[in-house]
Each structure stands twice: as C-alpha cells, then as structure tokens.
C-alpha cells in the first residue's frame, strides 16, 4: 500500500516561502490568490506485517521524524493498491 504524508506549516507560523510564491503569482496576474502556504509531500511504499496498525505507525513516523510538531502539521492518506 501507499501512504501519502502532507506536511504544512502551522496556521500561526509565518511562511515566508509561501508569501514569496503568493506575491510572484499575483505579479503574474493571478490576483485571486489570497494566500499561499508551501509544505512537503512525502510518499511511502508500505509493506506492513500481519496485524500491524499501519496508521498508528505512520502517525509515529510523522511525530518522530517527518514533521516537527512545534511548527508543522501533517495529514496522512493511505491508499490500498
């Protein structure tokens, strides 16, 4: 199965990268762009063991390594394929 992890800066964290991208888009004429947040997108191919709680382990991976929960939030999607 495949797991998709989206990591984004927390709402109250200033995201200067997102601000720069937003102002570049408005310079290109896309005035409808109100705000941009830039994050990370990680895909993991998972081969779980029998009876393993995949979501719980992914959650642990996010908290321990993939995201810094002081300043980032994460969202996990799991697709069976």
């Amino acid at each position: 199965m495949t797991a998709l992890v989206h990591i984004t800066p927390k709402p109250d964290i200033l995201d200067p990268q997102g601000k720069a991208v937003g102002s570049a888009l408005r310079d290109l004429g896309y005035h409808e762009v109100a705000e941009v947040r830039v994050g990370k997108y990680i895909t993991l191919e998972i081969e779980p063991k029998e009876g393993e709680d995949v979501r719980a382990r992914l959650d642990e991976m996010c908290r321990r390594l993939l995201a810094n929960i002081n300043v980032e939030t994460y969202r996990i999607e799991i697709t069976e394929s």
Binding site: L14, P16, Q17, A20, K40, L65, N70, V71
Partner: protein, 229 residues
C-alpha cells in the same frame, strides 16, 4: 578539559572548531564520528555548523537520530556541557534538549556576515567571560536561523534568564534592522534550565583569532573550560 567535536556527514565547521580550540586555546580536542557511540572521554561536546545529512527534511532532523546522539543526550542529562552552533543548535532543538525551532530566515536569503549580539546574562557557564550588556561581534552563516517558540516558551526563556545572546546594533540597541533573520525576541542563543546546554546561531569558533576577523568567540570556550573542569 577535553573537547569532542561531533562530525556528521555534511558538517563543515568541525575543522574551524577543532583548529580554534586546539591552536588558539590549547585544549585537547578530538573528532567524534556520528556513527560512534562513545564520546572518548570528552568533557564538552560541540555540535558544529554545517548541513548534517544535507539538511534533508529539516535542519538537524536526521542528525538527531545519529548513534552518537544517544551518548550526547546521556552526557547532557548528567549535567555535562554541550554546545550546538548553527546547525548544531538545530540538532539540539530537534532532539529536545532545547525548546523551539529554527525556521527559514524572514528574508528567504542565506545570510553570511558579521553581526552584533548583546550578552544578556554573564552568570552562566558559557558567558562568565563576558559582561552583561557587552556587545560582541560574531559571524553568522545560515538560511534557517529564525528562532521560533510558542509564547509560553518565550516567556519561560525570558523569565528564567535563559536567553544568553540577542541580536543588536553595534551600540547594543534592539530593532528589526539589527535582527538578521526575524528571530522572535531577537534571540541568538539560549541555554537549558540546568545551564549546561547552549544553542546559538552565531559562530564563536570562527572568531578566535584577530587575523580571521576577531576574538569575541574565545571567552565562550574559556568560560566552559573554567566552569566544567
């Protein structure tokens, strides 16, 4: 006093620290490869600047799990000194020895220049060689040095006098124009509650010889040697 400098793949200030501590200060010093679990009798651990593990994911995020870090954690918990400079500061935050995080500079630019910082507290094992209010010049070289912590943590740092250095003007005033990265409360360096772990973005190891720019970094290492010998 023996200094041990951890070398991660991608560290690039390890030799500056080694050279300064050995030749300018005359202390024994050795490198500690990040895969080793033994600190070889080091009294003070230095986590140097650079781009450990390519800074992949986040600065310090992967380095924090290097085998040597278990021994460094143990060393710190025994009250022995640990100093993280620049990327080393990021490693200390990621491993939780210090609170907060370092974000991308507000300018979005890598910032490499000498800056001024004010010594906020001289009664610490790291700053006893300076005076309170003294303005130092040290170089910075980072793209992700904006210190961030939630407001409770900032209050705690401030009220417990754990902010040792703040960015300032050459005259010692604070202001956005003197803050090179947008750090909250102009924070350039903090210590833990016990006072044996220091994290800072500026590079004291690079300023230990007049011919290399200055000597304001020297008193920091001398203070550590005096406090922990």
């Amino acid at each position: 006093m023996r200094f041990g400098i951890v070398v991660f793949p991608g560290s690039n200030c390890d030799h500056d620290a080694f050279w300064g501590i050995k030749h300018e200060l005359g202390f024994p010093v050795n490198f500690l490869w990040h895969r080793q679990m033994d600190l070889e009798g080091s009294d003070c651990i230095v986590l140097p600047g650079g781009f450990a593990h390519g800074d992949y994911l986040r600065g310090g995020a992967i380095a924090r799990f290097s085998p040597v870090m278990d021994a460094v954690l143990d060393h710190a918990r025994k009250g022995r000194p640990v100093v993280g400079i620049c990327n080393g500061f990021q490693v200390l935050l990621e491993i939780g020895l210090l609170p907060g995080a370092l974000l991308r500079n507000d300018s979005l630019r890598f910032c490499n220049k000498p800056i001024n910082l004010r010594v906020e507290r001289a009664q610490s094992s790291f700053t006893s060689g300076y005076n309170v209010g003294e303005v130092l010049e040290l170089p910075i070289a980072h793209g992700q040095g904006k210190y961030y912590a939630d407001s409770d943590t900032l209050e705690e740092l401030d009220s417990a006098n754990r902010i040792l250095f703040r960015y300032c003007s050459p005259g010692g005033e604070f202001g956005v124009e003197w803050n090179p990265n947008g750090s909250l409360r102009d924070i350039a360096g903090i210590c833990n509650a016990e006072g044996n772990v220091l994290g800072m973005m500026p590079h004291p190891e690079r300023y230990m010889n007049e011919r290399l720019g200055g000597i304001d970094g020297k008193p920091l290492f001398l203070a550590i040697a005096e406090a922990f010998s």
